[in-house]
């Protein structure tokens, strides 16, 4: 059997990278994104890592969609969108973002272990450096509290992310509602909306 496929497809792939701290809910957010892209009729690949790093380590998830997607993993300089759930992680993964890519980051920090115990100084100037790199800052925890639960900060960021992606808002809402526990659908849709609005106020333009 010999198969030939359209190799131009590689060109038409969008790569979104979600980074944060294990336990922050990057997996749920990336799952919703991947399902939205699939529901829109595109080919999708998602790569995430479970296990050890989920215990408060640095985590990254990659979602790629387009006409035909091959690799689930990516290299520095190849993400079109970098969505960071925490400030230091935004900095850690910044070089994965294309020079022309979009950076949305939570404005909160979570101190990593070496900083907590005083083995290492907290980095200074991250916010300014990210600002220089064109970052959009979202206070996800504050908006999540506003939406009714501090636990939905990940969905606030999902809302912010959705503004820059080519899918209709109804599709996002539908997939999100189907993916979270029934009891929390309302709070999550509210969190999504607040994240979206924070972006629509102009902050998230490419």
């Amino acid at each position: 059997m010999t198969i030939t496929t359209d190799d131009a497809a590689v060109q038409a792939v969008t790569t979104v990278m979600l980074v944060g701290v294990g336990g922050q809910g990057t997996i749920l957010a990336s799952d919703v994104l991947a399902k939205v892209a699939a529901a829109a009729g595109l080919d999708v690949k998602l790569a995430e890592v479970h296990g050890m790093s989920q215990r408060g380590g640095s985590v990254d998830t990659v979602v790629r969609f387009g006409t035909q997607v091959f690799s689930p993993v990516v290299d520095p300089g190849s993400a079109d969108h970098l969505i960071a759930f925490e400030l230091t992680e935004a900095a850690r993964w910044l070089h994965f973002l294309k020079p022309s890519g979009r950076l949305v980051t939570n404005s909160r920090t979570i101190a990593p272990l070496p900083v907590l115990i005083g083995d290492c100084q907290p980095s200074t100037g991250i916010e300014a450096a990210l600002d220089y790199e064109g970052a959009v800052f979202i206070d996800a925890e504050e908006l999540a509290c506003e939406a009714g639960s501090s636990r939905s900060a990940n969905v606030v960021l999902l809302g912010a992310m959705s503004v820059g992606l080519p899918f209709p808002v109804e599709l996002w809402r539908e997939v999100l509602a189907g993916r979270v526990p029934p009891k929390s659908v309302e709070a999550n849709l509210a969190a999504f909306e607040l994240g979206r609005r924070a972006c629509e106020r102009g902050a998230c333009e490419l």
Partner: protein, 584 residues
Amino acid sequence: MAHSLLSGNEAIARGAWEAGVSVAAAYPGTPSTEILENLARMDGVRAEWAPNEKVALEVGIGASVGGARSLVTMKHVGLNVAADPLFTAVYTGVGAGLVLVVADDPGMHSSQNEQDTRNYAAFARVPMLEPTDSAEALAMTKAAFGLSEELDLPVLVRSTTRLSHGKTLVEPGERVEVPGRPYAKLLGKYVMMPGMARKRRIDLEQRLSRARALSEDSPFTFEEARGSAIGVVTSGVAYQLVREALPEASVLKIGMTYPLPEQRIRDFAAKVERLVVVEELDPYLMSNLLAMGLIVDDAGLAHIGELTPGVVAAAFGAAAPETRDPMEDLPARPPMLCPGCPHRGVFAALRAMDAVVMGDIGCYTLAALPPLSAMDSCVCMGASIGMAHGLGLSGGAEGRPVVAVLGDSTFAHSGLTGLLDVVYNGGVSTVIVLDNRITAMTGHQDNPFTGRTLQGGSAPEIDIEAVCRALGVADVRTVDPNLLKPTRTAIEAALVHPGPSVVIAKAPCALLTKERPDPFAVDEEACTACGECIRLGCPALSRDGTARAVIDITLCVGCRQCVQVCKYGAIQRTGAACDIGGSR
């Protein structure tokens, strides 16, 4: 059916289910765990957690001999434990289809070592399939059962982290109901004493030569003809990287990688000017191609860790894309014990006692890192007990207390035999079982000590104290590790006991505790910046600019561990995070 977005693990479960699997057994292990968790929710399947991989495989072999299509899953290191039954199960062959899924972890995202299971396939002589995405994971797993029956051999499906935990589109099919085959007593087939085994060894070669023929015809092996300049031989997820990195290259993607389709490889080699192999981990395909006498160009790819499209492209001379400058001097972010983790109390005590701690594998291994720094070793599941006994025999600890520390699931997996050894040989080790009522590291699976089964049934909640006594340990005590002083007292008492002793530190995993007491905050006036609480290594605790402690109230779960170490009463209850304006 419409396309669904499934992880490799979901797809493998689905494939087994569609093939009519009726018995499945496994021991959890990242990245393989979710296969059985998914299968357990499907109709018509009996799915069980076994205490370890060897038992899981033996359950699978028995079910297969009894005529039921059976699935056994594990992570790569699990196959070391299950290797013993595997090497002989290829001699006996199967009753009904027996499929073994083993998930490797290139890059060690969540493992203590890196192993390439493809070597096991060749070593044990088990036919092996290597899926490249979720759709193939489903199709191959489904086909593997028929292949197993056709060849009278177990069949191995090899996954890797990026397959198991990657999601891609899949078109699920229907389940075929496969009637059970009646059990037949066949001494020459199932009793592997030397006389019978010698005959089966010869028969095995015949079955393998049939497997070779099937490999040549496998629909999972395909050739993609592009230019003739470069021809890449590849398999598994590496195929996807090749497609992305080398769009001009011709590709031979091998689906059945043991036995290899040698004729197809030779035919492909004859068509290209430069023959190369792209594979993750060991040079498995490479050495086979060389052994076939082919001239293979070494692209110089590393045999350590994961590959990426960029790494593959660079090996073939592509320039790296333009990137932003990486930011320098960022603090590392290793994983850490969760806020409220009950393991913390035990390690705080062990550090204070300057104990030599032979450790084991689970969430608690994180206590090896500062500031707890209270674990001296981590080798394999259950190793802590034998190592503590051996270290005791060596005399190297020079009077410092020596303890073994392992989790409840690890104790069931392979701690029992270690304890038996200590008792039998008159050892004096102190063993601490961290009984957090769950297998936490791999995402909260039940085990023989939790009183529940994989499919939600209740099970006898096996009493760890009674088990230890039955194994001959006279000094057994249980303590709540959230109470720091009593925990230390219990460990000290166990250490002075003249014979072997066991301390069971029993308190549920903090992630399973539903009630969330209000968080604590530090009274700035009362805090003297002594750092005692910081040394617990709690994610919610850090020092402010004046070195005084501060608590991140969005992370604090109100466990009170830090309250117990504060000599100045500086840590006080406060209100819920959102009520008092979010975190700092």
